[in-house]
């Protein structure tokens, strides 16, 4: 009984992949071509456990029994494995009179609806990717290394979403970054791969810096880094940052300058990890890694860590409306820019990479609305996106596998005859991505648009809601939302923050801003449909052509690759409708402690299907698909392209808005100049000094060494002389 308690199960989710990784490393050479076994078994077991946890959590929350519940109770379970680092002991801290001075980092895991959902996604997609890789990576010299890394990634990512402490979050934030770095540079002998890995790492460091400083500020402001409430040795309660005590109190979160700084630093971290403007440049290059890794890490899971972070810290953001607005602005802008770039890419994987950036932007736009609908919609989209984007990447991988490593869409075409399963599943994924009903993306995108719409047209939205059967009082919450923000921070808290109320960013928080963001998202939807179907038409329709690299054996991929494709295609097709119609995910997530904060929970709206928005979204998708069909359906993919219509804009898009060039000119080149100067000074001036200092111990060593004559008599004599000196000194001192 105890062996299967929820806390044991929770520990097992990260533990099993870790064991798999260790076994793969240890036995890699012995297992050879079967090196995938420990990793696949570990992740599969972790998936089973995660599903058990999800159902257990669902029972706890009571999904389906209460229907839509305005007063969702926070549900969480925290397991503290051990105290990792403790500075000072509780007794001493008690003496000093301030419990907050105790610095303690418990290794604590948590389970709540958000974590349970993400654990299932991480292990589930991880499992399918691992199975797919058995076929895809077959015969690679680094076969065991690949599986060890994937396992290690699943471990790190599950720890990241299960950690109940900001320092642990930081540790595993770095750990997933390290796994990502190693997987991008998996073929490290390829210069582009090594370069891409380095770029990803360096760009991510900027975001990591944000997270580190945010963690310091949290410690300074709140005196703890724990999410949950803890009881100290002397029985006093230490409220965690996201614990029940603090969540219940609307004024417990610091706004003003400090609060905004924390949120903006979180946003910086999220931008790095989730590839948002202006730190998005690493993700397209990350496609140099093996395609399954791109699918798992750079599409379905790791890049959503930023979404997770913002969602998790929702109450902190609620206290800083300006920061929240900026989240949406960054998200919507990224979504639009990435979609524009995506329209002119010819590398299939890069199309998908920009699409990922764009879809992540959608999620951020949704998070930034600060409503319960926005948060749950972002997670909903995260889930459906994990399915269809993993599917599309694995489909692209299947194409690449079959085309002998060629991924340039201009060099092949009409592949639906050669690889029917891949073509069919890719089409399903594309329909989901483009947001065509009733595929998954349609529903999640609809909710995101609805959340943006509710901020842009609060009044219209309220009327719209009133028309809905259970509208009731909820519209008040929606319209009241802005007012609430200004009231949510008491003057005390503001003074604590040491700054004036609010920040300049708050000025952005107007309905006009939200309307612009809404229209940007709608345009993005059309662009998404366009580039997705452009890729589908270029790759799978038209006359059948294969590049010479594929040889004569261009064929459908093996079952280990196609079965995961089919499973994901099924999920991409039905998961959206299922999760939306039962409203299970949203009501489940509403019990996540972070979303039960009054500032979030008060924005709850009854579940509704927004016909007007659905029609607008579908129209946008239809326009995109039709334009793509006009341009590419049935034509040779190496024919004339967009440049005819776009003119100079094409140059702008194809060069990705010149981000890389601008960074090179503004940051890299000046830094290189400074580095050259610094190196010169270092070699000439500092090294000289250091060498001089280093000669002191070395010279001393030479002197001391000569005392080491090897003659015992001298040793004894030296010892006796030393003794005499000591005794004489002591006696002299004692005498006065």
């Amino acid at each position: 009984m105890n062996a299967l308690s929820p806390s044991t199960l929770l520990v097992l989710v990260p533990l099993l992949p870790l064991v798999g990784a260790i076994l793969t490393v240890a036995l890699g050479r012995v297992l050879g071509a079967r090196a995938h076994l420990p990793a696949v078994a570990g992740i599969a077991a972790a998936f089973v456990v995660a599903v058990m946890l999800l159902f257990g959590m669902a029972r706890e929350v009571g999904v389906g029994t209460t229907g839509h519940d305005h007063a969702a109770k926070p549900v969480e379970m925290v397991t503290t494995l051990w105290e990792w680092a403790v500075v000072g002991d509780a007794a001493a801290a008690g003496d000093a009179g301030s419990a907050a001075q105790l610095f303690s980092i418990p290794v604590a895991l948590r389970l709540d609806p958000l974590t349970a959902t993400l654990l299932v996604i991480i292990t589930g997609v991880g499992l399918l990717v691992a199975i797919y890789s058995i076929g895809y990576m077959h015969g690679d010299p680094g076969y065991p290394r690949f599986f060890a890394l994937v396992s290690a990634f699943v471990f790190s990512m599950s720890m990241l979403v299960a950690a109940s402490n900001f320092l642990l979050v930081y540790v595993f934030w770095e750990a997933v970054g390290a796994c990502s770095y190693l997987l991008i540079g998996f073929w490290f002998t390829k210069p582009e791969a090594a370069k891409a890995a380095k770029k990803a790492f360096l760009v991510n460091r900027i975001g990591d810096f944000g997270l580190a400083v945010a963690t310091f500020l949290l410690w300074m402001t709140y005196g703890t880094l724990n999410f949950h409430d803890t009881t100290l040795a002397d029985g006093t309660l230490m409220p965690g940052i996201l614990g029940a005590t603090r969540l219940a109190d609307a004024s417990a979160y610091v706004g003003g300058a400090v609060g905004t700084a924390i949120c903006l630093l979180f946003l910086l971290a999220a931008c790095g990890k989730s590839a948002q403007l202006p730190l998005h440049v690493w993700l397209p290059d990350a496609m140099e890694g093996p395609t399954p890794a791109s699918s798992l890490i750079h599409a379905a899971t790791m890049v959503t860590a930023g979404i997770y972070l913002v969602a998790r810290t929702a109450p902190l953001f609620e206290a800083c409306p300006g920061a929240l607005t900026l989240v949406s602005i960054v998200g919507a802008t990224t979504a639009l820019v990435a979609a524009l770039i995506g329209t002119v890419q010819n590398d299939l994987k890069r199309v998908l990479a920009y699409s990922t950036i764009s879809q992540l932007g959608y999620m951020f736009a949704s998070l930034g609305t600060g409503t319960l609908l926005g948060f749950t919609a972002a997670i909903f989209h995260l889930v459906t996106h994990a399915f269809f984007k993993a599917l599309l990447f694995m489909g692209a991988g299947s194409v690449m596998h079959s085309m002998g490593g060629v991924i340039d869409m201009r060099r092949f075409g009409g592949l639906r005859r050669i690889m029917p399963i891949t073509a069919a599943t890719f089409l399903v994924g594309s329909l989901a991505l483009a947001g065509v009903a009733p595929f998954a993306g349609f529903f999640s995108k609809d909710e995101i648009l609805a959340s943006l719409h509710s901020r842009g047209w609060p009044d219209a939205h309220g009327e719209h809601l009133e028309a809905a059967p259970a509208g009731g009082h909820a519209n008040a919450a929606a319209t009241f939302h802005l007012a609430f923000h200004t009231a949510s921070v008491t003057p005390d808290a503001a003074q604590l923050a040491g700054g004036a109320r609010g920040s300049a960013l708050d000025a952005l928080n107007t309905p006009a801003t939200w309307r612009i963001l809404f229209w940007m998202s709608l345009v993005t939807a059309a662009l998404t449909a366009f580039y997705t179907f452009r890729a589908v038409f270029m790759t799978f329709t038209g006359p059948t052509r294969v590049p010479e690299e594929a040889g004569h054996h261009a064929h459908e991929s093996p079952p280990s690759m196609t079965i995961p494709l089919v499973i994901l295609a099924a999920l991409s097709a039905v998961s959206g409708w299922w999760l939306f119609s039962t409203h299970s995910l949203a009501s489940f997530l509403a019990s996540t402690p972070s979303f039960t904060a009054p500032s979030v929970a008060s924005t709850a709206t009854p579940p509704a299907f927004h016909w007007d928005l659905a029609i607008q979204g579908t129209l946008a998708a239809a326009i995109g698909i039709v334009v793509a069909a006009l341009g590419h359906l049935g034509r040779r993919s190496d024919g004339p392209q967009m440049e005819r219509f776009l003119g100079p804009l094409e140059t702008l898009f194809a060069n990705r808005f010149f981000f890389d060039q601008i960074y090179s000119a503004l940051i890299v080149k000046p830094l290189e100049l400074i580095a050259t100067l610094a190196a010169l000074i270092d070699r000439r001036v500092i090294d000289g000094l250091v060498d001089a200092i280093a000669r002191v111990p070395a010279g001393l060593g030479t002197v001391v060494r000569h005392l080491q004559s090897g003659l015992m008599q001298r040793y004894a004599l030296a010892g006796v002389i030393g003794t005499l000196l000591i005794v004489l000194a002591l006696v002299a001192r004692a005498m006065g």
Binding site: L707, T723, I726, A729
Partner: protein
Amino acid sequence: MNVTSLETFSLVAPEIVLVLAALVAYLGGAFAGLRFGWLVATAGIVAAMSVTRGQAADAAFSAGIAIDPFSTYIRWTVLALGLLLCLVQSGDLFAAAVSRGPGLHRGGTCEEAGTFLLLLAGLSLVGVAGDLVLLFAGLELVSIPTYILLGLKRTDARGQEASLKYFFLSLVASAIFLYALVCLYGIGGSTDLGAIAARLKAESTGRTAQALLPLAIGLGVVGAAFRLAAVPMHFYAPDVYEGTSPGNAALLSTLPKVAGIVVLARLLAVVGPAASPDLLWRIVVVLAAVTMTVGNVMALWQSNLRRLLACSSIAHAGYLLVGIAAAAAPSISPRLLTTGGLAATLFYLATYAIATIGVFGAIAYLGHRWPEWTSGSGPRPPREEITLVDDLDGLSGTNPVAAFAIAVFLLSLAGIPPLPGFWGKLALAISALEVDGTAAIELGSRRAWFVGLAVLLVLNAAIAAAYYLRIIAAMYFKTTKRGVQADGGLSAGVAMLVCLVLVGLVTIRPRNLLSAASRAGESLVPHAAAPSAGVSETTNMNMAASR
């Protein structure tokens, strides 16, 4: 105090078990095979452990035997290190029995195992000794088996030279230490440590007794310095380590240090901090500063692996003295982070011993390497024992596990976070900074001395990193054509892995070991928790009374 003699024996039951096991090994050696002795030794240590476990850890004093958290901590340290050393030593011997290399000794393992057990029994007795005579007897029971082990292990000229050097210099140190004991007896009129402490505190103590105190302190510190390999009795270490086997070097760099720390801690409990505070801490601060600096700068130039580690062990003796010095200076600052200098030293001792035994275990496990040889230049020369840093070139390629383990141990010794050595150095530095922690730093004040010591500790750690990293660089960044054999026996390899696991455990949870060390330190030298001298006075009085 009315304890019957039988109960007195029960207090030293673990030591008795060790001696009995030694007898079994000696006698059984005449009948059984090569490795039998070390099996008996292992079993004996495990039996002694279980006896220790059954014993109550609360303070019991009888006939000069003190069973308190301090002696229990020392006992566990001794037995645990003994078990690890058993693995290193027996692996080493197995290699000696099968290899054809020159200068290697074969057989005789049962005698060695028995002698080793006696050594452990002696060391454990030192830990529980509450009486001058028992303390000295215990120390000699450590020294004499050490001479024998050094002599048995190597029959070549270098080995004999090492053995002789150690023998004579140890005699000098023992003689000096005996003078210290005589002085203490002269002060106290009793061989019982508690009685001496009480006498020192009493108002009626005569001027003669007080005049003997500097002599007792000076000579006692020097006696301990030899065991620790600290200045001015450090000269023997490089020569002896170089001449002996890795297993013996592991032994020499750990067990005598335990004895040295016990001697200093007992001395501290008797004469300081209340009696004559200024004398003890000042001399220990000076010795700590000189010792760590001398050890580290000497190590910088060594190319011989064992000599290098000998120098590093001198430096670590210096670090260990930092905590003793801090404990000797009664702190008047409110307690901040650590639980005292003695606790820091005891903790550091354990972390140092694990890493050191790990390194020597790894070297013992690696055993030999092929010399440079190309076919056609005559017959292949015999394998040579690993002696130089260069012999480890490219080890990460030929034996990645050993290379990784050695790297971890060396990084821990260098004090790189978050390895145990870092926690240890942190505890030591904090204990030094805590002395008069609230006072201003004025030239010549006690606070200035200790701040200077802490700074020197950190500087020394930086110097030490240079030569530790040199070894790691050799293993990871150099290549070699000469393969390393890993023929030193499996058990030494097992010892290496066990040490690696221990290092990992302490890395993750330093708290357990630290709290055990702080309990032990607290029981012997109560940390000055209260600013007023009156409280610490009463604590000491209670301690004296209970003896």
